[in-house]
Amino acid sequence: MGTAQRNRVLIGKPGLDGHDRGAKFIAQALRDAGFEVVYTGIRRSPEEIAAAAVQEDVAAVGLSSLSGAHMRLFPAVVEALKKAGAPDIPVLGGGVIPEEDIVALKEAGIVEIFTPGTPIDTIISAYRAACEKQPPG
């Protein structure tokens, strides 16, 4: 114990699209990199994801969206986390996201955005970095 405290992350899919291959792939890759991944499955509301993140005390939240609704859903999760009293939990996102949306999403508080071409090592490093920024505990 002791060294493992900052490796708890949540991976979830907000919204109505059911294409969970990407989310599951990321969850497995993070598991293989030594993370404890709370996987909440498909079709979740931003509020459900935020509530789960608080109860599970995760160090970061990862979202996946392939439906094109990321502009609404990703910032909604950031908002829901604020409302749930956890504005310090960083949110990362991935999916089929056009270049011009990435800037806007980062402005809305999402710390990283990954697209289908992003190498998995980059994603793992980003999660590690996001987790390490968290205060201990």
Binding site: M1, V37, Q55
Partner: protein, 285 residues
């Protein structure tokens, strides 16, 4: 509450203050329900059904869901929430996923602490859910006042369940997916096995967790058994056993780092009996 459990799980110093300030009365009143069984039997779905039923009487409920850590990477997929997301925004359903973090991770100790934190926060029922394989998982189940073993037809031969010695720890056997072929046969087989040589045979319940069928009856049986155990002193006996196990777990957890560095420091020769060396180190401590 989530943060408090993390602090304990990670062995932080401040955890001691939290654990010392818990409400002992609430802890001794709460019912701790253990749910175990093979993967795919429907434990999480059944847990979800039990939550729905208990929430009708507005009780606050805690869930500690344990999934295995990878022995290679140390990582884990904690997926028990998927079946229980309908309660995600319910403030009175408190859930915590835990990874086993290896067999020697002191899981029994941290799970026990999580249960007490939840009880102290007003959860009148706390469910510990775990896959019924491996020693550490069985140790956690020893924390429970009442243990359910969930089985389902089609998960291989009914003899498999008996081999593992799982039947002995269960107070109630649940045949889930009772609408599937083979459920009646499984229930009959289980009844036959548990009746053998026992004055009080383990009860068998049938449920269809996805439809919520049989759950009210199951909870009734749990209640009856729990009251009987409270009256007979069985519950107190189990709490005592679990308590002593947790203390032992913490002792080992606290000693481990010191002993480990002591062993490394000594650069012991490869030859010779490890058991004798261990005794020597312990005598000097």
């Amino acid at each position: 509450m989530g943060r408090a459990i993390s602090l304990v799980e990670n062995g932080a110093e401040s955890a001691e203050i939290i654990l010392a300030s818990l409400d002992e009365d609430l802890i001794s009143q709460a019912t701790i329900l253990g749910i175990t069984g093979p993967p795919g039997a429907g434990k999480s779905t059944l847990t979800n059904g039990i939550i729905s039923q208990l929430r009708q009487s507005r009780k606050r409920i805690g869930i500690v869901a344990v999934d295995p850590s990878s022995p290679i990477s140390g990582g884990a997929i904690l997926g028990d929430r998927i079946r229980m997301m309908q309660h995600a925004t319910d403030q009175d359903v408190v859930m915590r996923s835990m990874a086993t973090r290896g067999r020697l991770g002191g899981l029994c100790a941290t799970a026990g602490a999580a249960v007490r934190i939840m009880a102290s926060c007003g959860c009148s029922t706390i469910i510990i859910e775990t896959v019924g394989v491996g020693q550490s998982e069985m140790d956690i189940i020893s924390l429970a006042d009442i243990t359910l073993l969930v089985l389902a037809p089609g998960l291989g031969d009914d003899i498999q369940a008996m081999k593992a010695g799982l039947l002995e720890v269960a107070d109630i056997l649940v045949v889930n997916k009772a609408d599937c072929r083979g459920a009646d046969t499984l229930a009959m087989d289980l009844e036959a096995v548990t009746r053998k040589g026992s004055a009080e045979p383990t009860q068998v319940c049938m449920t269809v967790a996805t439809e919520g069928k049989g759950i009210a009856e199951l909870l009734e049986r749990i209640d009856t058994l729990d009251s009987a155990h409270r009256d007979s002193g069985e519950r107190q006996k189990r709490r005592r056993g679990a308590h002593d196990q947790e203390v032992l777990d913490w002792c080992l957890e606290i000693l481990r780092p010191t002993l480990k560095s002591e062993i490394t420091k000594r650069k012991l020769p490869l030859l010779g009996d490890p058991r004798r060396k261990a005794k020597e180190i312990l005598q000097e401590q």
